[in-house]
Every structure is written in structure tokens, then in C-alpha cells.
């Protein structure tokens, strides 16, 4: 184990997989000479050269689609899309091509493609650069979508994604790049499709992912001092969704709150709440609460932006209200 940042964990995973497999190469905007907008790929051009670290023009449909084709011929491209907002420029290539090629051609082709991209608001980047639109992709059969919340999971899920023969979207988060945590040394894989109970508790389950999972853990630890025992389920994978882990937790605690950075309507929390009512209906002692972003384009103004985004206070209030009237 070593303590490192989420950024460093991603970097180390990329480097280790490039050393391990000649078929792995990186492709994206400003990842080489500029060393990445968020410096995840710093130093890799110098170490591996332009064949393995390929800078692209501003051409998301072009280079994401090119990565699909390269993957069909057996390479293992790892694409960086500068932010998830720009993935919309490539959505036809992701949804109609990467996600479809394997099934649509009767299993004859595989697309061992990874797309890494950060989402997240809270940086005063305005309406078009602050979105959490991972649910667009989590909706789509043929894709796998993961969203690590910790440096260890960042390494483990990215490594698993690179070794997977299906297209995997790795949703990073701008607010997490500098967070630190213990990361296993050497090869570390986290199984895609599995959630993790990051804190055990008795009174209420909080389900979250990415930045929200980090907030949930902080809040859960703090509420422990008030005698409230919160269990935290970090989804880690949005597709497939680990429904059994969610339901097992709620059957134990009998209450659930979902914390999510995406918008409320049709969001990840809606899917989680539906899962809970189907898998733990008889156990529920309170309605499932969802704490999500206010349904507006994210504003630039700091007070407005802060008001729109879910935070620890909003989660704590929802937890306390869910526990009110406890039998």
C-alpha cells in the first residue's frame, strides 16, 4: 500500500498497463505534449513516444470512432475525452458503434476500448462544462460504465477496464483528482459490476458513486458521533448495477437515501430507488429519498452553483428526515 492521489493512481494504472501490453495505447486531445488537461498522462509521451501516446486534433467523433476501429483490429486504445461534456460530440460513435459492434455483428468483433473522462460540477465552469451525464451511457446495453470514488478504485477499475474486451467508460471526477488514499501496490483489479460497502451501519443506507460516495463516507463518519449508524454503498459500477448489494444493505438498515451529482429526474437515483422498492419493499420503514442536483443548467455564480449541487448538508438533512419517526 502507498498513499497517493486519485490522479496519481490513474497515471500509474495507465503506465503499468502500457508496460504490460504493447497493444495498449493512449489517444486524445492534449494528452502528449501538453501532458493532459488534468495531467493524468504527464510524462507518458516522454517515456513511450508518439506511437503509444497519440495527440489528436479537436475531433471527438473522429478520434473516439478511430479508437473503436483500432479496437476492432485488436488494439486496446485508452481514449481521454477532456471532459464528459465533450463526449456528446462523439455520442454516435459511443452509442451506435462502440456499444453495438459486438452484438450487432453476431459476436464476431470485439471492442476492447476504454474511454476515460472526468465529469463533475462545482468548479464554476458554467452550464456546458459542469455536467454529470454518465447516465446517458449507463442506460446503454453494450457499454460498461464505472465511476471510481477513491484512488484505490481508480487504479483497480481503470486496470480492469483496460483488460476487458468490451467498451468501458471510466467516469472520473474533477473534484476527486487531488483526493488521497491508500492504493495497493502492483497489479490491482476491481471487478466491474460490483458495488462496495465502504462503511457498515445499522440505521440507514446511503447509496452513492464518484464524488458523492466520498461525501457520503464523510457524512457517515460524522453522524456516528451523533449516534446515527450509516451504511455506505459505493456503486463503483453504474452498468452493470450491483442490485444485490444495494438490496442486501437496505434489507438490513430498512431505510435508504441516494446521493448523486446528476440531475434528479431519470437519474441514477431513480434506478436505485426502483431497485430498492423491488428488492426490499417489505423491509422499508421509510420512503427512499434522493439527493440530487437541482434541475437547472449549472450556473457560473458561486452561490448559485453551490445551491444547485448536492452537498454534505443536504445529505445529512435527508438522512435525519428519513430517520424521523423511527420506530
Amino acid at each position: 500500500m502507498a498513499e497517493m492521489s486519485y490522479r496519481q493512481a490513474l497515471h500509474d494504472a495507465l503506465r503499468a498497463e502500457m508496460l504490460r501490453d504493447e497493444a495498449v495505447f493512449l489517444i486524445g486531445e492534449e494528452i502528449g505534449v501538453f501532458e493532459g488537461s488534468y495531467k493524468i498522462t504527464a510524462g507518458l509521451l516522454a517515456e513511450f513516444g508518439p506511437r503509444r501516446v497519440r495527440d489528436t486534433p479537436i475531433s471527438e467523433a473522429g478520434f473516439v470512432g478511430a479508437a473503436v476501429g483500432a479496437a476492432m483490429l485488436g488494439l486496446r486504445p485508452v481514449v481521454e475525452i477532456m471532459t464528459i461534456n465533450f463526449s456528446l460530440l462523439a455520442i454516435d460513435q459511443i452509442v451506435n458503434h462502440a456499444a453495438k459492434v459486438h452484438a450487432m455483428f453476431g459476436g464476431q468483433a470485439t471492442v476492447p476500448l476504454v474511454i476515460r473522462t472526468p465529469g463533475g460540477g462545482g468548479q464554476q465552469l458554467g452550464a456546458t462544462h459542469s455536467q454529470n451525464i454518465e447516465v446517458y451511457y449507463a442506460h446503454m446495453p453494450g457499454l460498461k460504465v464505472v465511476a471510481p470514488a477513491t484512488p484505490a478504485d481508480a487504479k483497480g477499475l481503470l486496470t480492469a477496464a483496460i483488460r476487458d474486451d468490451d467498451p468501458v467508460l471510466v467516469v472520473e471526477n474533477l473534484a476527486l483528482y487531488n483526493t488521497r488514499g491508500e492504493v495497493p501496490d502492483g497489479p490491482h483489479l476491481v471487478e466491474i459490476g460490483t458495488a462496495q460497502v465502504t462503511k457498515a451501519g445499522r440505521d440507514v443506507t446511503v447509496v452513492a458513486y464518484s464524488r458523492a460516495a466520498a461525501i457520503a463516507l464523510d457524512v457517515a463518519r460524522r453522524l456516528e458521533e451523533d449516534g446515527i449508524s450509516v451504511e455506505v454503498v459505493d456503486l463503483r459500477s453504474l452498468r452493470p448495477l450491483d442490485r444485490p448489494t444495494i438490496c442486501a444493505s437496505v434489507r438490513k438498515t430498512t431505510r435508504a437515501v441516494v446521493l448523486e451529482d446528476d440531475w434528479l429526474s431519470y437519474g441514477v437515483g431513480a434506478e436505485v430507488a426502483a431497485t430498492i422498492q423491488e428488492g426490499a419493499f417489505d423491509y422499508l420503514d421509510a420512503p427512499v429519498r434522493r439527493v440530487a442536483a437541482a434541475e437547472v443548467p449549472l450556473p457560473y455564480s458561486k452561490p448559485l452553483e453551490s445551491a444547485a449541487l448536492p452537498d454534505a448538508a443536504a445529505l445529512e438533512r435527508a438522512i435525519r428526515e428519513t430517520l424521523d419517526g423511527r420506530r
Binding site: 476501429g69 483500432a70 458503434h97 455483428f105 453476431g106 459476436g107 464476431q108 459490476g193 448489494t245 423491488e278
Partner: protein, 371 residues
């Protein structure tokens, strides 16, 4: 648009009176007669296959969309002959003929149109999504222009793994005239140019994107010139002449293989029928339809070979009959083939097995217990 190409001879022009002097014209002199007759055989097979596909569609044996290569046979045959077995072909959704010319058994193509398990894509793709890994036919694609970035990436993979040279692999990416207006076209050509990729984009310009004329849709209707912005050499050829298409494709492929120069080839072609089998093409005048019939590449090529003394009328009729037989056998094969079993609905959901993969059928309860 003034079409410089498209001057394929009509049967009336080329069909000589019996007993007329028959000299092999210069442009056929260096060709092996069996190859030229082979082109006729392939064109006849595609024609027979597509006419039968339309018939089977009308009988509801074929579902979904169904786009035919009728009128495009010369382009198909000339282009595919220019490819080596090691080359990769990405196609549009109008690709039955390309699969046949690439050597896919007609039965497996027809079975795919029928949605059967024996189809070339296992019944998962249908008419628009024919794929045969062994023949390096890397798919028909249903989204206009969508195949261009993946084809460009296939060329990137070739460049990643191997050096240029006469034995190098290359990619041919088909597209229609309509696709030249998409962003994917322009992004792909730009990437191919800056990365020096071994790819030939072949635009089959049949003059119409569904019902919209090229002149109404493209700021530069001479589509081979649309590579100029990327310094990609373009060439326009008569899509009704299999030799012109083949030779231009060979030149382009040589540049792609040996110099890593991407190329843009435009084959001027015609659609003998509507956009798809359900389109009566009422947007075309009777005169235009008559004119296109006169340019039909199949009788033109037959007449040309007969006039040159390379093919007799009897032999042509025998080839036509054999094509009909092959297509009948293909239909019989498709009819007899089983549907893919519902038990395999999730067989291709993922290539790498994954925890908690959803496998519920509509109405099934969610799996909320650990297995």
C-alpha cells in the same frame, strides 16, 4: 452537376449485329477473358440476388430496411476485385453485393436478410449489418457516415503494427454521396491525412441521398474534390465501368499501402430503384428513370463483352441462369435455416463476462438477490 463519367454504353449501342466484325477493343486487350467474364458472373449474381431480395421483402420474408445494389453492380465488382484478401472493407448499409463479391456464400447473406441463425451476422444484423471476419468485411453500417471513423481507426491499427510497402494491408471504406456532408466524413479525412493512414475512402455517388440530389446537398458537388481541404488526392471514375473502378481503386490502394497516402475515390453510379425497397422514387421523372435504365451497367457490360467476342449470348444466358439457380438455392437455405434461439438473447451482450449483467426479459422481476 455535369457528370463527366457515366457514359456506359447501352446494349443498343454496343450490341453488334450478328456477323459484324468483332475486334477486342484496346481497353480490353490486356485483360484475361476469364476475368472479364468473371465480372459478368458476379454482376449477374448480384443483380439476381437483389431482385430476389426485393421479392422476398414484398413477401415479408425480410424485415426492417432493405437497400439494394441494383445499378451499382459494376462499381461493386470492380472495387472488390482491387482489394487483396488481406485488406479490410467497411461498407454502408447498401452492401449485399459487396458481401457477395467478397466471397460470402449467397445463402449466408440471404439467411441474414431473413434473420436466421445461419446468417453471416447470426441474425443479429440484418440487411444493413453484414459482417464476415474471415473475409475481412468489417461490417455494413446503418448510420450514414458512422463507419468512417472506425474505418479510419482500422487503418490506424495497421499503421501502428506494420510498415508501409507493397505487401502492407490497407482499408477501403465505402460511403454514399450523402455521407460527405457529415462531420464524421470531414473528421475522418482530416485524421487520415495528418496521421498518414493506409485507407481509401470510396464514395459511391448515385446522385441522390434518399431523395435529395447531390447538387442540393453539397457545396462542392464534385465529391472527389472534397478531399482538397485535407490535401487528399481525389479521383472520379465511371461507376458503370468495372475496369475503370478497379484500376482507379488499385492506384489508390497502392498509394495507401506504399506511401501511406489516404485517397478519396468517387464512383459515379446510379440507383435503378428507390432508396430502399419500399421507396417508389416518385421524385424522379419518367424521363430520368428511362435514362438510367439505358445506363444499366449489367446489359452494358454484357454487350461490351459480346461485342468484343469474349462472351457469347448463349454463355451470358447460361451465366444468368446459374445466377438465378444460386439465388434460389440461397433462398432455400435461408428458408430452411432456424431462427436464433431466444435462449441466446444475451449471448453477445458482452464479450467479457461481467458481474450482475442484466438478463431479465420484459416483465421479469429484477434480480435483487446474490446468485
Amino acid at each position: 452537376m455535369r457528370r463527366r463519367a457515366g457514359q456506359g454504353r447501352t446494349g443498343e449501342e454496343a450490341g453488334e449485329a450478328p456477323g459484324a466484325e468483332r475486334a477486342v477493343p484496346a481497353e480490353l486487350a490486356g485483360e484475361k477473358p476469364e476475368v472479364l467474364v468473371g465480372y459478368y458472373r458476379q454482376m449477374a449474381l448480384i443483380r439476381a440476388f437483389e431482385l430476389r431480395a426485393a421479392e422476398m421483402y414484398a413477401k415479408a420474408r425480410i424485415g426492417g430496411y432493405c437497400h439494394l445494389n441494383l445499378g451499382e453492380e459494376a462499381t461493386v465488382v470492380g472495387l472488390v476485385d482491387a482489394l487483396e484478401a488481406r485488406d479490410y472493407l467497411f461498407a454502408t448499409y447498401r452492401e449485399h453485393g459487396y458481401a457477395l463479391a467478397r466471397g460470402v456464400e449467397p445463402g449466408r447473406v440471404m439467411a441474414e436478410l431473413f434473420g436466421r441463425a445461419t446468417g453471416v451476422s447470426g441474425g443479429w444484423g440484418g440487411s444493413m449489418h453484414l459482417f464476415d471476419a474471415a473475409r475481412r468485411l468489417l461490417g455494413g453500417y446503418g448510420i450514414v457516415g458512422g463507419q468512417l471513423p472506425p474505418a479510419t481507426g482500422a487503418a490506424l491499427a495497421i499503421a501502428y503494427r506494420s510498415e508501409p510497402g507493397p505487401q502492407a494491408e490497407a482499408v477501403v471504406c465505402l460511403l454514399g454521396d450523402g455521407a460527405t456532408n457529415t462531420g464524421a466524413f470531414h473528421e475522418s479525412l482530416n485524421l487520415a491525412a495528418i496521421w498518414k493512414l493506409p485507407i481509401v475512402y470510396v464514395c459511391v455517388n448515385n446522385g441522390l441521398g434518399m431523395g435529395t440530389p447531390v447538387e442540393a446537398a453539397s457545396g462542392e458537388p464534385e465529391l472527389y474534390r472534397r478531399g482538397c481541404s485535407y490535401r487528399i488526392v481525389g479521383e472520379r471514375v465511371d461507376g458503370n465501368d468495372p475496369l475503370a473502378v478497379r484500376d482507379a481503386a488499385r492506384r489508390a490502394l497502392e498509394a495507401a499501402r506504399e506511401q501511406r497516402q489516404p485517397r478519396l475515390l468517387e464512383a459515379v453510379s446510379y440507383r435503378l430503384r428507390g432508396h430502399s425497397v419500399v421507396d417508389p422514387a416518385r421524385y424522379r421523372s419518367r424521363e430520368e428513370t428511362e435514362r438510367l435504365r439505358a445506363l444499366d451497367p449489367l446489359p452494358a457490360w454484357r454487350s461490351r463483352l459480346i461485342a468484343a467476342g469474349i462472351l457469347s449470348l448463349e454463355e451470358a444466358q447460361r451465366i444468368d441462369a446459374e445466377a438465378e439457380e444460386a439465388v434460389s438455392a440461397a433462398v432455400a437455405f435461408a428458408e430452411e435455416s432456424p431462427d436464433p434461439p431466444v435462449s441466446e438473447l444475451f449471448a453477445h451482450a458482452y464479450a467479457t463476462p461481467v458481474a450482475n449483467a442484466p438478463r431479465a426479459l420484459p416483465g421479469d422481476p429484477l434480480p435483487t438477490e446474490r446468485p
